[in-house]
Amino acid sequence: MRRFLPLLFLAFISPELTPNAVGQMPAGSFASEVKPLLDGHCISCHGPDVQKAGLRLDTLATDLRDERTRAKWIRVHDRVAAGEMPPKKSEAPPQREVTAATRWLNRELHAASLEQQQTQGRVVVRRLNNTEYENTLHDLLGMKIDLKDMLPEETSVAGFDNVAAGLELSATHLLLYQEAAEKAVAAVVPVSPPIPFKDRRTGRELSEKGSNFRQTLTRSCMLKDDALIVYSKLPRYGLCVTATVPANGRYRVRMSAAAVGAQNRAVPAAFMVLETSGREDAVVREIRDIPHGKPSVIEYEVDLNRGQAFVLNLLNRWDIRQFKKPIEEYDGPGILLEWLEIEGPIGAFPSASYDRLFAGVPLKARSVARAEAEGRTPPKIAPTRPAQSWLTDPLVPVSANPKADAERLIRDFLPRAFRRPVNEDLLKLYVARVHAKLDQKYSFYDAMMYGYKSILSSPHFLLFLESGLAKSPPAKPAEQRLDSYALAARLSYFLWSGPPDDELLKLAANGTLLEPAVLRAQTERLLNAPQSQRFIENFTGQWLDLRKIDATIPDPQLYGDFDGTLLWAMPRETQRFFEEVLKNDLSLLEFVDSDWTMLNERLANHYGIAGVTGNEFRKVKLPPGSHRGGVMTHASILKVTADGTQTSPILRGKWVLEQIIGKPPSPPPADVPALEPDIRGATTIRQQLDKHRSIASCASCHVHIDPPGFALEAFDPIGGFREFYRATSRTSRGLVTLPGYTGRPFYRGPDVEKGGQTHDGRAFETIDDYKKILLEDKEQLARNLTQKLLIYATGAEIQFADREVVEKIVATLKTKNYGLRTLVHEVVQSRPFLNK
């Protein structure tokens, strides 16, 4: 239900009314500036007799320091400033009354909002969200551990899941954090000494292991001597799967494989991980091209947990089942696999992650440790002891000087966990807690586990504490400025979704991070580091809804051309596109229109663009007439804005208004039934919408919502360009045959109607025209992205006092070609970012 959670009211800011412009105005009072407009033009609908939209203005409090009151007046200000109120059909108020009222409100709202920010801070204290929590432990321990799935799902506010208002902290959270911490700490301790593990299976052996091969052999795969040739996606229980690994760690996978088929080209194969105990499908870790020709050895390293296995599979939907002749005669694309091997775990023992928590502490079997502690003769552990026995008697860290080691390890870990130096009292408290457990006869490992769990449950770890630590009491305006450690954390969680590294902490320690030039250099460094992929993924995942990429499954009866490799490629185009713009400081307007995009072969085929071979993404110049360019024409966006089977101009229009233009429409009235597209092939969505818009209460919003939706109607739910709708039932226009389409054929439905006009009467024929119209208001596009980035960077919604900051950034961007990297720097150097 995420998508129904709060939308932020961001719209309708008129730049000419920024506080800079009104700063010199005489002050005036509410009575002299605002009341005349209210009395003359508002009270009749929002007064004692009638309260339209539940709003009554004559009794509305005017103390703008109250947040709820302020929110109401902001709405009044915005509607009046945008010329939406009083409504067009009523008598127009004199311009001077409108100007006086909006100026007074603007100035006073700004002042009140700024005062609130300066006394309370702009961002209310918030906790790490699930993603940040998992990344933080990953960076602290140097090991990827799945923790996010243990924690309750996050709520988004203002479009992002790191905004303070949405980050609840329930009792359940607190208890689960203890469990997650225990899982993370346990994960760094190896169960056994390295036990060499190696398993190789020939193609034939692979087919003998999986029960489902009985059905698929000679239908979608075949044996050729000892090799297995796979032509179509293999089902569960009949996979090219390695043995299940006995211990957590990194493994080396090797295979001897080649692409086959008359097309003489590489074939993309999915490298996947399977949880052998569950019923879930294997998860794609990577897609790699298997070269055509003679089999070659391909190597791949993968992190696996005990009980997991590596899987090689095709994701393409090449439907060999429609091939009626013997499979030996089939010459379509496939993969020949001679053998598949897994070996490991590889790397140092114990791992570097162990040293992060237990450096210098030897590991012993638990039975040995216990015997030693009780003064008994320890049992002998045979060097050839099988992996299974280690599970019941695992290795544990055992210290000869438990108290000293505990203090050393806690002192080392605590400042890293709290992202700042920790005062001696707190340090001693944690050491004392662990020592007390040792006194209570806890083993060293158990006592340390207790200590680490305590640290990872602390508000100093879980919360962003951005004020009140260095000084008390705070709350003098100048003191809302973040100290250098809080700034380091804000920067790293913005650009890495994770904790500050050593260099940032060093610059925080000597205070130089507070210097704009140093901060700028660090912003560059963070953007250039691999961890910035987290920023790209999390920001685009939410701004552009890429997280919803597999929320719906396209109807296979209509979209037989959809498959796993396309699904995999879709969000990557958009992420790589964002990365390209960010890396080269290209204009953010490229998100609306560009003459290039990022493609691999699968996606290029989908778009009908020739000359792109291989699975790797690269920058591709778009040929004329491709109708592509800008994110709105990415297959990813076209998929997340459709419901899998059908497109809806309303959903897409709403999406463009919210995400690209930044003027979200009001929610629909409760009493109007929703429209239903008709896939039988009789009426089009356009014809139904035209009817809808003839209802006056619908029209006022739909004149804004529908046009971008109509402009995108030429793209189907999987992002293909279309001239006509696909239909499941017979139509007079017959069956359609698409080149290379192997699914069940569909019928040709009605043609897609082209064109439309914007709310202010500008006509467009195609999406290309519509993008040009959007680009006429470059500042609004920049304003929208600035707001979104500022929300994401600081974890708080846009407040009234932030508007002046946003406008200043937009003005700067205008002089700098709207560069995205410039925007990131501007955000980092802005007042909201530098202050609590």
């Binding site: 449950s457 100093h460 009140g468 009491p473 009235p669």
Partner: protein, 419 residues
């Protein structure tokens, strides 16, 4: 009525010993097996929420009263005809579309639930848990998913969505060593929370008012977590009940709507039968195409039927299948005996959606069914479809049936009296 808890003052006076403990187990409603047997058979409540409404023309009967003609959907439930009441013309009077999910079980007034804003109150299951939760191993179970359960401070209580895990918690006993470790984990957890609470309090003296308000909420959660661990500790010395069913090994995902619902209902029945908890909220969310013969649309998609006959038929197939699963559950509850009563008699089962018409995202005229619970069931109680009766009034009646003498609940204006 459960026995009155021992008053602390009385206890201290009569024992004549200076006890520093804040309370002893005996002072809360007693939970020993013996004491429980002596008590009147307990009352229980299950709240089932569904997100996508129900096609109410196929659900509501035309006639009101006990002698209604079963509608298409109610035909499925006819074996239990005397054991349930269907309410039409009832809702929270919200207009918040899917978002109204957050208020379905809390019933706060409409001003507090807006499409973009929420100031929620406690949900019915948690109100029940607050009164009688300490008598069982689990005060309540919040399962399935969704955002239906809220605590008294308006903080959402996340649901457990993995049936295998819930089953484990309820019924699987560990080895003595595992149990000892578990007990220690519970005790460690409490002392960790003590430190967390102290740190929050210290921070609180150094922060601004807005931050303090937020940290006060956190502190409330710390206390609540401590209480849960205390309850866990108390129960850790009592063996978990044994049940004669195979341990579930699979957590069904979206498309397995029916298997998933069945699995949850089975767990609910076992949890009640073993008196592991007396308050459960179960959310049966569904968006994807359910694996039901003849259904090729996603559930959410079908719910936007726009009156198109083919789509409506798809939706009806899904909803009929869901009600079939409900009917099986009611049958099992009716077969299970507890003393002189059936489990169904002792368990109020509330089954509803936050949408009255999903095709238009309408939150009025909700599909509501109340089964079991020892109510005087009336077949079909029809209220004004244009001017709905507040669902909170039914919630208040349900609280009373649980032996909880509340004066109001949510936005209630009184308790319904028909049942």
């Amino acid at each position: 009525m459960p026995p009155k808890p021992l008053n602390r003052r009385t206890f201290l006076r009569s024992s004549g010993v200076a006890v520093a403990l804040p309370f002893l187990d005996a002072m809360v409603p007693v939970a020993s097996a013996q004491a429980r047997k002596a008590m009147e058979a307990p009352r229980r409540m299950l709240l089932v929420g569904r997100p996508l409404g129900m096609y109410t023309p196929y659900f509501f009967p035309e006639k009101a009263g006990k002698n209604y003609e079963p509608s298409r959907y109610l035909k499925i439930l006819q074996p239990h005809r005397d054991q349930f009441t269907v309410f039409s013309g009832m809702s929270h009077r919200y207009a918040a579309g899917h978002y109204a999910e957050v208020g379905l079980m809390t019933g706060v007034s409409t001003e507090n639930i807006r499409p973009s804003e929420i100031r929620n109150g406690i949900s019915l299951d948690q109100e029940v848990a607050a009164h009688i939760g300490r008598q069982t191993r689990f005060a309540s179970l919040v399962i399935g998913g969704g955002s239906a359960a809220w605590n008294r401070r308006g903080v959402r209580i996340p649901a457990q969505s993995r049936a295998t895990q819930v089953f484990r918690q309820l019924f699987i006993r560990g080895t003595p060593e595992e149990e000892a470790r578990e007990l220690r984990r519970i005790q460690d957890g409490q002392s960790i929370l003590d430190d967390v609470g102290e740190q929050v309090k210290t921070l609180n003296t150094r922060l601004g008012a807005d931050d303090r308000r937020k940290l006060d909420l956190y502190l409330g959660s710390v206390r609540e977590a401590e209480q849960r661990l205390q309850q866990d500790e108390k129960w850790s010395t009592t063996a978990k009940p044994k049940v004669e069913v195979a341990t579930p090994t699979v957590d069904y995902s979206g498309p397995q709507l029916l298997q998933r619902s069945r699995q949850w209902f089975d767990i609910v029945q076992l949890a009640f039968q073993t008196d592991s908890t007396r308050s459960i909220s179960l959310w049966l969310g569904s968006q994807e195409r359910p694996e039901i013969d003849g259904v090729n649309l996603a559930h959410h998609d079908a719910s936007h039927h726009g009156q198109e006959p083919a789509k409506l038929e798809q939706l009806a197939k899904i909803e009929e299948a869901e009600l079939q699963v409900l009917s099986e559950f009611l049958a099992k509850m009716a077969k299970a005996n507890e003393g002189d009563h059936t489990l169904l008699d002792r368990t109020a089962i509330f089954y509803a959606s936050n949408l009255g018409n999903s095709s238009s995202h309408d939150n009025t005229n909700l599909p509501i069914l109340l089964a079991g619970g020892g109510f005087k069931h009336q077949g079909h109680i029809a209220h004004d479809r244009a001017n709905n009766v507040l669902l909170s009034n039914l919630f208040l009646r349900m609280l009373h049936q649980m032996g909880i003498e509340a004066k109001s609940f949510g936005a209630s204006t009184g308790a319904v009296s028909e049942i």
